[in-house]
Amino acid sequence: MEHKPSIFPARIGILFLLPALFFVAIFLIFPFIWVIIISFTNQTLTGATAANPQFVGLENYARLFDFSRWMRSGEFGASLLITVQFVLGSALIGQAGLGLLIAVLFYRRKGWARRIVTTLAVLAWIIPEVVVAFAWFAYLDRDSGTLNMILSALGLGKPDWLFDYPLLSIIIFNTWRGSAFSMLLFQSALETIPPSYIETADVAGASAWQKFRDILVPLLRGHIATDLILITLWTFNVFTPYLLTGGGPTNRTQLVSIYTYKTAFQFFRFGQGAAIAVVMMFINLTLALIYLSTLRRQRVDA
């Protein structure tokens, strides 16, 4: 790396960085280490082990990976499987798919339809979580929900959404909730494609599908990868469905984030909760590393 001339000497630069480093240490690195330490203890919030926690080695981790009950409802394996389904359904297929669809449908179009759809998608994204969850809870209620009022008026019956299809419900909810990010990302990516590409294809008589497959997708590939990794990372940690279903019924929507919360703050088992958090951190770290290396490869390609 070549030496660039700068206003301040390097030492003063470090001095300016110190306050930031201090806060990073206090709010990020210290809690990180603390969680790892707690995960090796039987610390609880109440009971004798709250006052005098003991070191239990890998017991908390062994319990997480106890394969004799790994997949039993409410256990770690089952939660992990639900989370994977949730990420696949709501992030990769739902948000990225819907976002791409909206962006491409309105590509090179102006007017009220585009403005309305874009505004609605962004609105769904920026309304506070609690408000959104409450609205959906009321919307999906079996007996007095708006959705079932409409369905029964059309003679389609009254499905019990949050009870019979809880996972599907939170997948649809999260798709609705978060598609705006993918849409905005793809919209701005599409703006960077020179119009002449599409115009040339039009002259050559290419169909819409051919234009999409042979021009847009290859040019958007990098953005699609970025989008998928980012929303996977976020969706993996999302907690809002708790406000809708509480993880139930019978743990059928117990995402790993909800599992962690319940273990630590409902059953007060901090040690066990910390162990789950550490495992989650490693999964997130892996995803983040994939993201960073993809970014780096893109920069090299460019």
Partner: protein
């Protein structure tokens, strides 16, 4: 992200500085705070009325006469019992929280062991023992908020559990009232009759994790005690984790919810199921509901009003599986809990806080409460007043009653009980499988040396 956190911290700092300045400005006035799961017009509405119209004004007046300027603030908590407990544990863990906290007796041991709460005497000193109210509180009721011989709070009363039914619903179904079953078979038969008559939910016996302790107390214990024993062997000091009675209890659940579909399993599995069960009962959609007298005093009072409640709602005792087959050989069973108020060990005004607690527990205050909400009081000099049904419930059930083991591991075991019933009523496991999973989980919690397995059949 870091910038955001910094901002929050700066804001918090600013609030602290301003707050401190505010307190410093008028240091002769003292503010005491109290919290309960109570909301005016909502849950335990009567408690709020009593606190706001009697306790707080009379206490402030009394203190003013002594030249002390006290303001009492009531923080109304509208969440569930479980959420309140979570709030308390987190508040106390960081040295915060209201000066007086309404507290469920069975939380005491685990909070004590964690060092989160202290005996009254340790907080407020010798004046606690000098209080003349203690001699009017029976030993058994003092026990509700005691642990290892120390008193942590003053109870507000105790309760009993019975089966509630609506006279009009029963009469319409052709069932003679007053109705009193003498066995589980009677209950199932009545439920079948109600079902035939078109009653939507013939019986509701609480199960599942969303209802929390209500499942263990109003559902599980009411069945288990009728099948012959307690969850805990008080002589051996061990937990009974597997037995024919436990299996019978789960089969009773299976019969109600899975085999005959006499109860609505959905209501036991959704988040707000308990409130739904109250509303369904008030609407005449539920035939029999096993509940505590809280149900009579609070939800029925709020949802139906006194007149309609008194003219329509009836109660029956919960029978043992067969006559004489219940706990201690009883024909009928019930179980009691009790809530009360504790002092926050972090309070800045321990003597004043005790002053408020003893003031609201004196004979005049308790009588004033009886006028607003008649209930089984904790004082032997204050009988239930003005509610014959409440008196009848107390007379019929109190002598049959027992309590939960006052042990720090009980709350966790109770959660396992809730999970066990959930597995059966949702059809996820058979009674045998659910019982085995329960035995395994409890053994892991308390250790092999603290459990008893009675061979099945």
């Amino acid at each position: 992200m870091h910038r955001y956190k910094l901002l929050v911290m700066l804001a918090a700092l600013a609030i602290m500085v301003l707050g401190a300045a505010g307190v410093g400005a008028q240091d002769d006035a003292v503010t005491l705070t109290m919290t309960c799961r109570c909301v005016e017009g909502g849950v335990n509405s009567n408690l709020v009325v009593w606190l706001k119209t009697y306790v707080i004004p009379t206490f402030e007046e009394r203190m003013a006469e002594q030249g002390v300027n006290v303001t009492v603030e009531l923080v109304e908590f509208g969440g569930s019992d479980e959420q309140l407990k979570q709030q308390y544990a987190l508040d106390l863990g960081v040295g915060a929280g209201a000066d007086l906290m309404s507290f469920d007796g069975f939380w005491v041991p685990e909070f004590v062991d964690a060092g989160l709460i202290q005996p009254l005497e340790a907080i407020a000193g010798e004046i606690v023992n000098e209080w003349d109210g203690w001699e009017h509180i029976p030993e058994a009721i003092q026990e509700l908020l005691s642990y290892r011989g120390e008193r942590y709070g003053i109870p507000v009363g105790t309760d009993v559990r019975v089966i509630y039914y609506r006279e009009d619903v029963f009469t319409e179904a052709g069932i003679e009232v007053p109705w009193q079953p003498t066995s589980w078979a009677d209950i199932l038969e009545t439920a079948e009759q109600l079902k035939e008559a078109g009653v939507e939910i013939p019986i509701q016996l609480n199960a599942g994790t969303p209802m929390g302790e209500a499942t263990t107390m109003q559902g599980f214990f009411m069945a288990l005690l009728g099948a012959g024993h307690h969850l805990y062997d008080f002589d051996e000091e061990k937990w009974i984790v597997s037995s024919p009675a436990l299996l019978e209890t789960l089969r009773f659940y299976e019969e109600i919810y899975v085999n005959r579909e006499l109860g609505d399993a959905r209501m036991q599995l959704v988040e707000d199921g308990r409130q739904r069960s109250f509303e369904a009962f008030a609407n005449g959609e539920v035939g029999m509901l096993v509940e505590g007298d809280f149900f009579w005093r609070s939800p029925m009072f709020e949802l139906m009003g006194v007149e309609q409640r008194n003219s329509l709602v009836r109660f029956a005792l919960m029978p043992a599986r067969e006559p004489g087959a219940g706990y201690r050989g009883q024909d009928y069973v019930t179980i009691s809990g009790g809530t009360g108020w504790i002092l926050n060990p972090n309070t800045e005004h321990p003597e004043l806080a005790w002053g408020l607690l003893s003031h609201m527990s004196d004979v005049d205050a308790v009588r004033a409460f009886q006028l607003i909400q008649p209930r089984i009081s904790f004082r032997d000099d204050v009988p239930v007043a003005g509610d014959p049904t409440m008196t009848a419930m107390a007379d019929a059930a109190l002598s049959l009653s027992t309590v939960r083991p006052q042990l720090p591991e009980y709350p966790q075991i109770s959660v396992e009980v809730q999970l066990m019933t959930e597995r059966v009523v949702s059809g996820e496991m058979s009674p045998e499988e659910a019982l085995e999973a329960y035995a395994e989980a409890v053994t892991e919690l308390v250790g092999e040396e603290n459990v008893i397995r009675i061979p099945l059949e």
